[in-house]
Symmetry: C2
DNA sequence: CTGTTAGCGCTTTCAG
DNA sequence: CTGAAAGCGCTAACAG
């Protein structure tokens, strides 16, 4: 096999304990000894074996990210932010994709029983309390993004406010019959039973009420997940009504874009016939000239990863809850004016 | 600590070797003994410790994916395909993002010295021979996607043909001054020194030649990487010429979309003033109504992962090289006709 | 078929 | 400060 700590010890004429101390450069070792050991390491080309290390330490120096990977560009953007920070901090990034809420517990279970990760980032949901307890027992910090969980380090936006912003925008445009396309999950994403889409709906309702517009329950359509197909289906449902809405707020850009397709397919135009507002500001949104509420997605990921890295370094966090700002991005739809709009910068541009 | 193999052995009244055999259910153990052990396992809630296992086996039951993650939707799509298969096969998915070719060797180095992965998938490049040798020595299979490497399991498309398809399409439309926007890397992605973008250029040149059109070297513009900004810059360069091209073939959709933005920004239209063809057929392409050459991205990932899983199961591969088909997807640009086009189905739709 | 015995390579007490 | 020794929990020979 490869060169081990024993070889180094022998070569340096010290005990393996000393070598261990040197490579973990924490403990006190006399400068001379250290130098000798370092020389031996250098000369032998010694590399500590991570697996042995893991077994001893009961940790693997890698962090897990839980997300419904295949579903949403939003989550991919968050992941990108996470990756930036994590890899720089020298951790491995293990990605767990969860297709359905049902699979979530299974994945969490495996994750707890499996290789012990150093930390976990949950995207768009918070693990249930009994899982959190176990993570705590194993001393595995958990950070949550896109979801505000009391008592847990969370990076999030004010989705209620976001829902208000979107709806207010439509109200200001003069719309009164405003529909909401919500992402619907079978069960809540966290103990509180609320999730971003639900908070956005709350904001939507608040805005309507503030404007003195009575909310019509049938104008709230639920679609399973954030795909274009779902958005299109929801929109179709709305357009087939005898009294279709004049404006639609969708819980995500993907849903909104699906809705937009549907609108165009019926020969209608955005915003001429139906006004549309999305949520997230994914890259696609700029291309489709979709008006939307922008979340700082990559930043969310970066901050979450930074918080985790800090936690792992035993540094205390200044704040458990970090709220990030939302921005309403108003664009003119492609349907309204020929040509691709590029008046508004695409979300966070890729930095070189 | 948790319950170990010793506890199980004691409870079942057998030796740890037997327990080990049972949990690795490979060897011959008498049915009764097995039943007793299984009962003890069940009763004690025993879970094998992956880290101890790793150390013993010198393997970690996880596969690494190397890609330039932040850069391209194409690679994310491939990753999605990989994830589907890998997680189902019970492996962990470790993502390594490589921002620049220079970092590549560093990552490979760490990967070889670090936790031993069971297998590796390289997206859009092939590790150099000396790395491959080391992987071979460690018995870590390597599969390559989006790149054809002799002697290595590769999933790929015929990029030369793709380049030809795109260019022929433009030629058939009557264009003669056709530019090519290439992704340029500082150095080749593999021993052969060719990479998808270069092969596409080759196809471009072949098509021109076959049509009796003399290629003009200055119409080939190189841009670093696959971002919209790069595409826009390249397009700007082309449009500022006294004799701009009437058509442009870009090495990727991202580059093409950047080009499209630039074209629109100058008040020109696609394809009216400048015809445009991209490559990949990422989801954005459908929205921008971009004509493009479609690659089966997710399938690429799935096949690569399947090949790797097979290799890890010591099953021989039927074929080392798997070529996947390309499709020319013709769309009308948003600039040509108002309204979002949805005549052509978006690439692979997300399955429920 | 099955128990025993060595490791795997490192971390971490625990005495010096 | 440093060496020796005891694991970490499991796999894999090796004798029965």
């Amino acid at each position: 096999m490869a060169v081990t700590i024993y070889d180094v010890a022998k070569a340096a004429g010290v005990g393996i304990g000393t070598v261990s101390r040197v490579i973990n450069d924490s403990d006190r070792v006399s400068p001379e000894t250290r130098a000798r050991v370092l020389a031996a390491i250098e000369q032998l080309g010694y590399k500590p074996n991570p697996m042995a290390r893991n077994l001893s330490r009961q940790r693997v120096r890698s962090i897990g990210v839980l997300l419904s990977f295949l579903t949403s560009p939003f989550q991919v953007a968050v992941l990108q932010g996470i990756e930036q920070v994590i890899s720089k901090a020298g951790y491995e990034l293990v990605v767990y994709s969860i297709e359905s809420p049902e699979r979530r517990d299974l994945v969490l279970e495996n994750l707890l029983e499996g290789l012990r990760l150093d930390g976990v980032i949950a995207v768009s949901f918070a693990p249930e309390e009994h899982f959190l307890q176990r993570f705590r027992r194993y001393q595995i910090p958990v950070v949550v993004t896109d979801y505000h969980q009391e008592g847990l380090p969370s990076i999030f936006v004010d989705n209620v406010r976001g829902g208000r912003m979107a709806t207010q925008h439509l109200l200001e445009l003069g719309h009164r019959r405003i529909a909401y396309i919500q992402d619907h999950f079978q069960r809540p994403n966290g103990p509180q039973g609320n999730w971003p889409g639900q908070d956005r709906r709350l904001g939507y309702l608040q805005a309507l009420e503030a404007a003195g517009v009575e909310a019509e329950p049938s104008l709230i359509v639920e679609s399973q997940g954030h795909t274009r197909a779902r958005g299109a289906a929801a929109m179709a449902q709305l357009l087939e009504r005898p009294d279709p809405p004049t404006a639609v707020f969708a819980a995500s850009d993907m849903l909104a874009l699906g809705a937009m397709e549907q609108i165009h397919q019926r020969g209608l135009r955005v915003p001429g016939d139906v006004a549309l507002v999305g949520f997230d500001d994914i890259e696609l949104a700029a291309f489709a000239a979709l008006t939307t509420v922008r979340q700082p997605m990559r930043r969310m990921g970066r901050l979450a990863a930074q918080a985790l890295v800090q936690l792992l370094a035993k540094e205390p966090l200044e704040t458990l809850a970090q709220e990030l700002p939302l921005t309403l991005v108003v664009r003119e739809s492609c349907g309204a004016k020929a040509g691709l709009q590029s008046g508004v910068a695409p979300s966070e541009s890729t930095h070189p």
